[in-house]
Amino acid sequence: MARRMLDASNQGLLLQFWLATSSLSKGKTRMDRNRLQHQAASMRRSLFDQGYLDEPFIQLEELQDDASPNFVQEIVTLFYTDSARLIQNIEHALNSRPIDFDKLDDYMHQFKGSSSSIRAKKVTNECTVFREYCSAENAEGCMRSFQQVKQDYAILRRKLEVYLQMVRQAAVSQKA
């Protein structure tokens, strides 16, 4: 099921990654450790190249250290919690009649704030588009844009989970 969720460009990476980690259990080699790190780096590069994340995401990762070894995962988890709440609020507001565009704009402003903080480029850009439709009180535009926001967010979340799993495995192999 996890494999169906990934597009073709990431499936190859993940397959190589699983082969590398399974070889780790048979006997760790420096080559395997390097391969894991390289694959995590490639996955991150693809997130940047595909526009899901901005390169300053690296600054966020650099904040993680031995004192806070799970910092990135904690931030990402908080982002998911914020996002789930805001998506639900926006959906509810879009389904209300009459539509309260001020409230909608306020929710999307919050979503834009948290997605830009985590450097989620595509999601942030689409939030801006949504807010433009909100200013124009264009309900149809808001609904179309919101579908795009949800789609971009869902894809980002799947890719981020894969990437963070790779990073964790690479970190474990480093310590071994």
């Binding site: 300053p56 600054q59 966020l60 904040l63 931030i75 919050q110 948290s114 903080s117 985590i118 807010r131």
Partner: protein, 134 residues
């Protein structure tokens, strides 16, 4: 200001934001630069901290918060005589809204999220401010 001076400071900061994620992010970012950091969930909590005698060299202030927003809190702090550096950190798009936030009493206003470059700039500004006062 050398890299060593940047990190070996005795500065304190207050991060005011209603988002737990952004509070955590900015707190960690500032700690990396050697600041001692506290957080507050909204403007009222920030003002209450100062009323209880707390003080900070730097306040990072979000604009949109429940109970008391960043502009209101900034005005209140300035009326109280707080001379800390207050820096707005906001995702506001409108120049008019940002200008209004600045006019509440901010020293600077940055777009979210804060970057390492922003923090280095602020530390240099704080260093200059300390030198002028001494």
């Amino acid at each position: 200001m050398s890299d060593e001076d940047i990190v070996n400071n005795n500065l304190t900061a207050l991060v005011v934001d209603d988002s737990p994620m952004i509070r955590k992010l900015h707190e960690m970012h500032l700690k990396k630069f050697g600041l001692k950091v506290q957080v507050a969930e909204n403007g009222k909590n920030a003002v209450d901290l100062f009323r209880c005698g707390a003080s900070f060299n730097l306040i990072l202030m979000d604009k949109e918060m429940p109970i008391m927003d960043g502009a209101e809190a900034t005005k209140e702090l300035r009326i109280m005589g707080v001379t800390s550096m207050i820096v707005g950190v906001t995702s506001l798009d409108s120049i008019f809204e940002r200008q209004a936030f600045m006019e509440a009493g901010l020293d600077h206003c940055f777009t979210k999220p804060l970057t390492s470059e922003n923090i280095i700039f602020l530390l240099q500004e704080l260093n200059n401010k300390n030198n002028e006062e001494n």
